[in-house]
Amino acid sequence: MELLGLYHYWVFAILLMTGFYAVIAKYNLIKKLLGLSIFQSAVFLLYITMGKIEGGTAPILQAYGEGQLFSNPLPQVLILTAIVVGISTMALGLGVVVRIKEEYGTIEEHEIREIDRQ
């Protein structure tokens, strides 16, 4: 159990940093947004991992007697809304990228800077 928990945290760290790498190193704006969404998912994974209680179950009270342990509902609430807000802001980001493509004819960052410099 201990090792499994550590593995969850390590996967969080790897996902976070892979997403971050895509954001800082890639030129393509869509790729950057994909990296951002991976980064975001990594944070979700961390929260949900933190909320887990050993021997617990999903926090739905029906059909369980007294003494049943439940996993922490609070991180789940935060992440549930964060996912929906995440897709909305992602849609906004994609909208900006589409407008950039229409104005500059490219979505590669270095080419956009080149055009800006002229």
């Binding site: 996902l15 940093m17 991976i38 979700f44 509902p73 809304t81 929906v84 849609a91 994609l94």
Partner: protein, 330 residues
């Protein structure tokens, strides 16, 4: 058994992530993100977060993929350039990753009931749900009532993002290559009507998706579900209809003005429930006064605000889809 499954899923997740970042073909990357979302939804489910898993599966694997593909159709599928300062970036990322991994050894033990995160308000939420609201799903109770302000804020963020996309796309593109491009493939706005199998299968699926959306919406107090998930599922059904039958027919069934109304109407319904609490002599978003019995009042309030959430989310996601789909590529 579930340990093996968890490790397997997490490993697949990491592999998928590397593939997304490595591939130059953005179409492949987007489809891989769909797989990524399904994998992480399964992991959320193994971690007892059924509501979150449902949301991630509906949003990440369904709507996000469609939106990204819609954007790709306008911006091009191939990533051209390489990477900037590849070695430096890799070094930075590796250093931060090792710090994060080093820090994990100080994290509370996985699944420890004594971990700090479980000590503060969470036990109170579990007990308080039984006492004040009396619905089985604690997640819905916390989302709708105990932390109703947060959720209202989130709904307005979703609403604002939807307005933002519509606003961005209200500007006309400056440069056009030629307006008389020869039409290749199916006629514009016709969708997949020419393809028999998607049409037949899709038409059969849509009513059931809508029914499932209603179930998720109104069963959210008893099982995993609620407005956020139901809104996404509803939007998925309408988007599927638009893909199969074409933009024009989808917009005839649900005109743009109705969609705008839904976007604003849901958020307004939520706020109106809050104001109703004030008018009946309590605080903003206190549902206890909505009925003679405070517990029943709480339940009525939660059903109403979940409906508001569902309406806004569905309206925003469908409007955003139409905004992307109606855009002509330059």
């Amino acid at each position: 058994m579930s340990v093996v499954f968890s490790v397997f899923m997490l490993t697949l997740l990491v592999i998928t992530t590397f593939a997304i970042v490595r591939t130059r073909h953005l179409f492949v990357a987007v489809v891989l993100t769909g797989i990524f979302s399904l994998l992480i939804a399964a992991i959320f489910f193994l971690l007892d977060a059924a509501d979150v898993a449902l949301t991630e599966a509906a949003i990440g694997a369904g709507i996000a993929t469609v939106l990204f593909l819609g954007a790709l159709a306008l911006t091009g599928e191939h990533e051209r350039g390489g990477s900037r300062n590849r070695l430096l970036s890799l070094a930075v990322v590796a250093v931060i990753a090792s710090i994060l991994i080093y820090a994990t050894f100080d994290n509370p033990r996985f699944g420890d009931p004594q971990a700090p995160v479980h000590q503060h308000v969470s036990p109170w939420y579990l007990d308080g749900t039984r006492e004040y609201i009396d619905i089985p799903n604690v997640v819905t109770a916390v989302l709708g009532s105990f932390r109703g302000y947060d959720t209202l804020g989130e709904v307005f963020v979703v609403f604002t993002a939807g307005i933002g996309v519509l606003f961005l796309f209200s500007a006309q593109p400056r440069r056009r290559r030629s307006s008389s491009q020869p039409a290749t493939g199916p006629i514009e706005g016709e969708g997949l009507r020419h393809y028999l199998i998607p049409r037949v299968v899709g038409r059969m699926l849509i009513p059931f998706i809508l029914l499932f959306g209603l179930y998720v919406q109104f069963h959210g107090e008893y099982g995993p579900g609620g407005g956020f998930q139901a809104g996404a599922i509803f939007a998925a059904a309408v988007i599927l209809y638009a893909l199969l039958e074409g933009e024009t027919r989808a917009l005839r069934a649900l005109p743009a003005s109705v969609l705008t109304g839904l976007m604003a109407g849901g958020a307004l319904l939520y706020s109106a429930v809050g104001v109703a609490g004030m008018l009946l002599g309590s605080h903003f978003l206190d549902y206890s006064v909505l009925a003679a019995d405070p517990v029943v009042g709480q339940q009525i309030g939660i059903v109403l605000i979940e409906a508001g959430v569902g309406i806004t989310v569905a309206g925003v996601l469908i409007s955003v889809f139409h905004a992307f789909a109606a855009r002509e590529s330059v």
